[in-house]
């Protein structure tokens, strides 16, 4: 079948068909992104927290903006070159466009990964510490475990035994037989229990066990019991329930008296002095601002700790009035092994934590709309690049026999590509800068 008006415009619309089609599609795309931008306004206006500004990696966003602009230029040049029958230049331009999409997505993945690995801890008084978890993450330590109650249907020893410190622990069943909880042994035990219409299987440990359980693997716990997500409850004694965080930012905006806030307390003396100095410095710099101005609070009531920041940097501000003995180097108190040695390590008691999560939609609505908007935009980048790559790689016959038809295809694919760039032009300032 011959599709009409693929090259010449249709007299009544004045357009070749594909172009009319893509513009109708783009009109609906505008509505799709318009709805999400509208949601952004709603979320920002209704936010009951300080909306993040410059919290994403601005450099990465900036580079990605340039990459998209470059690809927008090259895709329209590819079209013009094809029209002029400069086939070599057309191909080069197309390759640059598709490669740019790749670079954009790789950068995006770095950005997402950084967010997934970055945590915020909101303390009970509303002040916030953010940073990274040390190797292994948040572990609840539980000792003197003798009794285990497994759900006959959902219990899974391979799931929870991973968190014991003892190797190949042995257990006794109610009947007194000694078992090792291998997969097959448990299968038998569970089958027996189900046959006897028992919902659970109680086991006693031969030697007391110690667990260090990943927080996310637990369902709930008290001082004497802990329930795993597979329904298994262990009885023993809670040894330690605290989150260790390598702090990279302190936010005491929620506190009227920062020096009494929990975040402040967890900083430790030397970093408290560093924060003091930082505040003095920021107060001086932003003294023209109202003390309730969101931007004043952002600069004065927050301190970022960078890789190279050391607690003693307050020496640069002798006016802040600290005694010389507070200027101990930051490394002194930390293990000298890792790259993280510059970050203060806070061990935060569970009772002080109101909420904690990594920077995903769970943390706040800003990250909700950030991931939705950039995620959907990223899908558009991938889709656009696939279409353009298809034209480049598989439309070779059309290139030989009907280059004008191919040029129209490139124009239509290019229109979509420009639209993707256009969306990013608004996304970049709204999410990264303002």
């Amino acid at each position: 079948m011959d599709i009409p008006f693929t090259r010449k415009p249709r007299p009544d619309t004045g357009l070749y068909n594909a172009k009319l089609g893509v513009w109708l599609f783009l009109a609906s795309e505008v509505m799709l992104f318009g709805g999400l931008f509208s949601s952004y306004i709603f979320l920002r206006v209704g936010a009951d927290y300080h909306w993040p500004v410059h919290e994403l990696n601005v450099t990465l966003g900036f580079v990605n903006t340039l990459v998209l602009i470059l690809s927008s230029v090259t895709v329209v040049m590819a079209w013009a070159n094809l029209k002029m029958r400069k086939i070599g230049a057309y191909k080069v331009c197309m390759w640059i466009t598709v490669a740019s999409a790749g670079v954009f997505m790789v950068n995006k993945s770095f950005e997402y990964k950084a967010k997934f690995e970055h945590y915020g801890v909101k303390l009970k008084d509303g002040t916030i510490l953010t940073g990274h978890l040390p190797e292994g993450g948040y572990r609840i330590e539980f000792g003197d475990v003798n009794k285990l109650t497994l759900n006959s249907k959902t219990g899974d020893p391979t799931y929870f035994l991973e968190y014991t410190k003892s190797e190949n622990p042995k257990f006794k069943t109610a009947a007194g037989t000694e078992v090792e909880l291998t997969k097959s042994a448990w299968k038998e035990l569970a089958a027996e229990a189900i046959k006897a219409k028992q919902n659970s299987v109680v086991l006693t440990s031969v030697a007391p066990l110690t667990f260090a359980v990943k927080e996310s693997a637990t369902f709930t716990h008290t001082d004497s019991t802990l329930t795993f997500r597979d329904g298994t409850t262990i009885e023993g004694k809670l040894i330690n329930d605290a989150l260790t965080l390598q702090v990279d930012k302190v936010d005491v905006r929620a506190s009227d008296d920062p020096k009494k806030s929990l975040a402040w307390t967890y900083l430790g003396t030397e970093w408290q002095h560093a924060f003091d100095a930082h505040q003095e410095h920021a107060k001086e710099k932003y003294k023209s601002f109202d003390a309730k101005d969101a931007r004043y609070l952002r600069h004065v009531m927050q301190m970022e700790i960078h890789h190279s920041t050391v607690a003693e940097h307050n020496e640069a501000h002798p006016g802040a009035g600290h005694a010389a003995e507070t200027h101990a180097p930051a490394e002194g108190n930390h293990k000298a092994d890792g790259h993280s040695s510059h970050y203060p390590e806070a061990t935060i008691a569970r009772k002080d934590i109101a909420f904690w999560s990594n920077f995903t939609p769970k943390w706040n609505t800003y990250y909700g709309i950030y991931f939705i908007l950039t995620g959907l935009h990223g899908l558009h980048v991938v889709a656009g690049a696939l279409v353009l790559a298809y034209f480049l790689l598989f439309d070779t016959k059309l290139l030989r026999e009907d280059p004008d038809h191919l040029a129209n295809r490139i124009e239509v694919g290019g229109l979509f590509w420009h639209f993707v760039d256009l969306v990013w032009i608004f996304l970049f300032p709204l999410l990264y800068l303002l």
Binding site: G14, L15, F37, V73, V76, M77, H418, L434
Partner: protein
């Protein structure tokens, strides 16, 4: 739209120029965001004006909207009207205009004050 070889050659030069302008305005956008204007709202407005300017360049030059068939403008007119509608929706919610109650605002939130 059929165009001659010379026209296209000129276009290519124009595309590169526009690309450079877009890059420069990106730098300006980033720079402006670090300058504290009297209110942050002003920062947002200025940022959006620059972004709109950039978007207009992309739409007019790269997407050829400076010389297109009238059909496309007719389609886009509808979209524009509805999208503008989406962007003023929040104001209705903010003032609760439908039942004419006054929004008192919550102290401590960025939008604490009552609307005008």
């Amino acid at each position: 739209m059929e165009q001659s070889h010379d026209d296209l050659q000129k276009h290519v030069k124009k595309y590169v120029k526009i690309g450079i302008i877009l890059g420069v305005f990106t730098i300006i956008t980033v720079g402006l965001s670090y300058i504290e204007l009297p209110t942050h709202g002003l920062n947002i407005i200025v940022g959006m004006i620059v972004a709109t300017f950039k978007a207009a360049l992309v739409a007019l030059i790269f997407m050829h909207l400076n010389h297109e068939a009238s059909m496309i403008y007719k389609i886009l007119l509808f979209t524009t009207v509805f999208v503008m509608g989406l962007f003023v929706l929040f104001y209705l919610a903010h003032g609760d205009g439908l039942v004419f109650t006054q929004f008192d605002g919550y102290p401590g939130t960025p939008y604490g004050g009552a609307p005008h």
